[in-house]
Symmetry: C2
Subunit: 439 residues, 2 copies
């Protein structure tokens, strides 16, 4: 009876593929998880929170305002502080600040914004271009709404503009250009590939979206969740900074990575034409995100507590990244077919293993890695069902959660599992019983 | 171009009718608003918050856990405390507590739960029965999803079971029984009617939902948002307490009325078959509501800070209700056709004015009331488009926000406007220029 009493939307909204991994992790708490994309719990900003909360609550007038309902787009002083910071980071003039604040909407993490945008922009059957690979939670979100993610070739510099142009040409040829509603780009230290979209590609992607908007506007959804987690290299301007009239690019960010995911505060700079549709949907869903949390974060920004915290995060994650890279060097540099890029930021290393090894949950590696004591995200989760083909020999490794010694142990365990798959002349321990040690 | 670049869902998701009132209120800040259903800002729990927040943040281990992501259904100790309290209030045995905790899901206010349930249960064209009148935000939410709200007759004891049975008979006769997916009931101190659903009607409504579930389960969505705001009379058992196998009634509550709307914490006790669909939709939307806020509220419950706060709220709102009732007695008791019921709880008085007076925004009363200095919610907003006809001479008055003297001034202003409409032999001041004073 259940299937007749729930909606079509609910019937197609299965759990995310990652829930399989979460069950594995819960069932085997001793595993070293290099799968979860969580932030490092040890770095969460307890003292900054105490200071900011006390500033809000010690003034009864302010405190009561914070504990009341807010407006749907969110607490204006926080939106102002966000936009002022953003203009400074982009090196843009601040004379349009008050106008731009009207385009900022706060949500429960940037994930809620991605979901609201999907609801606001896409009908079932519509097409969204995204990098191959891309953020698997976003692919799940699209699939649950019946929206078609189409993968576009990317390399270590991110989404390839020529491949995007070619993808547009193909859908136009197939008579489906009117179905293309957006290009989704994780523009800084992509999840999972860690690619930092090259500077020269940024205006090109914006220009392609505009050029192909014949039969309806094609938006660029720029997911800048990892922007502040930069460990090396120069800062790059956002795609939004190249969108002169502001009508093409939706720029989303979150305080979940830079401050605390437990507060659930994300935001977007929206094209003006999307402010009302997104706020209407958000007002219907939850009357606006928690006003109290927005007051606290406004105080965090006002008191300049964010910058030193981000500096601390960068130092911590840089060390962890280096631990992961040195462990990979130590254990996998000599395995033919294993390679990875050094990420300049973010939380991930994208590992290629030899093409004969399938990394998926039913392949030969996954259970071996679990048996050796570690968990990873199979790379195949990160490819859209259409467009670029899905390689089966990729792995997403996260260095966000575990301390350096556990990262090293996890990589050592993964290397044992890879070697046990018989690469580099190794024998399969399940078949030979000779153990996992081999060169 | 905008209409071709946003989704069908966004095109049908207009703002709520109440946004017209909010614009009026913003444009005329001097108005005494008896329209807004907000809670009284003066009563918001600043000291309880300080104590609970400090308890969470003073322990670094606990603090970091609270600032991390939580699980989609919400922080388990809070769900346990909620369910333990609920079983005590209902007078039910606690031996099934741990099983029932699995059915509790926390959301961003109960409004997000109502929205998730609508997404989980209803397809466009489906039917939801609700009282006539009912919560207008819920009607807007249904309309935006293309779901048909159908009004069922209610009186001062709430939804009338015989009228509900008759409504079922009518849709069955029309061949649309399979379209009926839920009955929505505000079971305590209804918004807007203030009716407290009579005790004997509670099991009858549950039983009718079960009896008419031939062609698919019909859920009862019990919105118990105002349960704790009881000023007189005995507490009544919930509809959920009469649902023996727990598969029919969805029981929603919120801490927005009893503690703080700025924290956005609501919850539902779900039938077991809806836990996964609702959590899948919620996980897709926002990964779960703010973990930090859930830790703080758990500490509020653990430290028994909620009960004394609710006692304080009750005393404050009881005084305000009495102020409104005495002002109505003073100014409107002698106007033929004006009548109202004394609410035993909640935030509203439901006022009938003479049938010749239309209370809607384009009727003769609304602008006069604004000119006299007050704002109300036209009753017609609270009636579904189908089912019971919509009377035009009702008004929702809220005593939640304003202090007692402003409530009295607001009612006096409303009475002047009503009298100026020419009832009781009064002359219209716009036509005669003789002023508004008359018996």
């Amino acid at each position: 009876m259940i299937s007749r009493s729930i909606s079509q939307r609910a019937r197609s909204s299965g759990g995310q593929p990652v829930s399989y991994l979460m069950h594995k992790a819960l069932a085997h708490p001793e595993l070293i998880s290099l799968a979860a994309g969580f932030v490092d719990q040890q770095t969460l900003p307890v003292e900054a929170m105490r200071e900011a909360v006390e500033a809000v609550l010690s003034n009864p007038f302010r405190a009561r305002a914070a504990l009341q309902y807010g407006v749907t787009p969110g607490y204006r002083p926080l939106r102002e502080a966000i936009m002022a910071n953003w203009l400074t980071v982009e090196g843009l003039p601040t004379d349009q600040l008050s106008e731009m604040v009207e385009r900022v909407v706060l949500t429960a993490g940037s994930n809620q914004m991605l979901h609201l945008l999907a609801d606001a922009l896409f009908d079932p059957g519509d097409i969204v271009f995204c990098a191959a690979p891309t953020y698997f939670v976003y692919l799940g979100l699209l699939a649950n709404l019946g929206v078609r993610g189409v993968g576009v070739a990317s390399d270590e510099q991110g989404l390839i503009p020529e491949a995007l142009d070619e993808a547009f040409r193909r859908v136009e040829h197939a008579g489906e250009l009117h179905r293309v509603k957006a290009i989704y780009v994780v523009s800084y230290f992509d999840n999972p590939s860690a690619a930092n979209l090259a500077r020269e590609r940024r205006p090109q992607i914006v220009e392609l979206a505009q050029r192909w908007s014949h039969s309806g506007r094609i938006h660029v959804i720029e997911d800048a969740a990892y922007r502040s987690l930069r460990y090396d290299g120069p800062g790059l301007p956002s795609l939004a900074s190249f969108d002169v009239d502001g009508r093409t690019v939706i720029h989303t960010q979150t305080f979940s990575k830079s401050f605390s995911p437990g507060l659930r505060v994300g935001w977007a700079l929206l094209p003006p034409q999307l402010v009302t549709p997104v706020c209407d949907l958000k007002g219907n869903a939850d009357f606006g995100s928690p006003h109290f949390n927005q007051h606290v974060l406004a105080e965090v920004l006002e008191r300049r507590l964010l910058e030193p915290h981000v500096d601390l995060l960068r130092a911590s994650y840089r060390t962890k990244r280096d631990s992961m890279l040195s462990a990979l060097d130590e254990h996998l540099a000599d395995v033919p077919g294993c390679h990875w890029a050094r990420p300049d930021g973010g939380l991930y290393v994208w590992l290629h293993v030899p093409p004969m090894i399938e990394t998926g949950p039913s392949g030969q590696l996954f259970d071996r890695a679990v048996a050796e004591g570690m968990l990873y995200v199979p790379g195949e989760y990160c490819f859209a069902a259409e467009g670029e083909p899905t390689p089966r020999n990729m792995i997403r490794l996260s260095f966000g959660v575990q301390p350096p010694d556990r990262i090293k142990q996890g990589i050592a365990a993964l290397a044992r599992a890879i070697r046990a798959c018989g690469v580099g002349g190794c024998v399969d321990p399940d078949k030979s019983g000779t153990g996992t040690g081999c060169a």
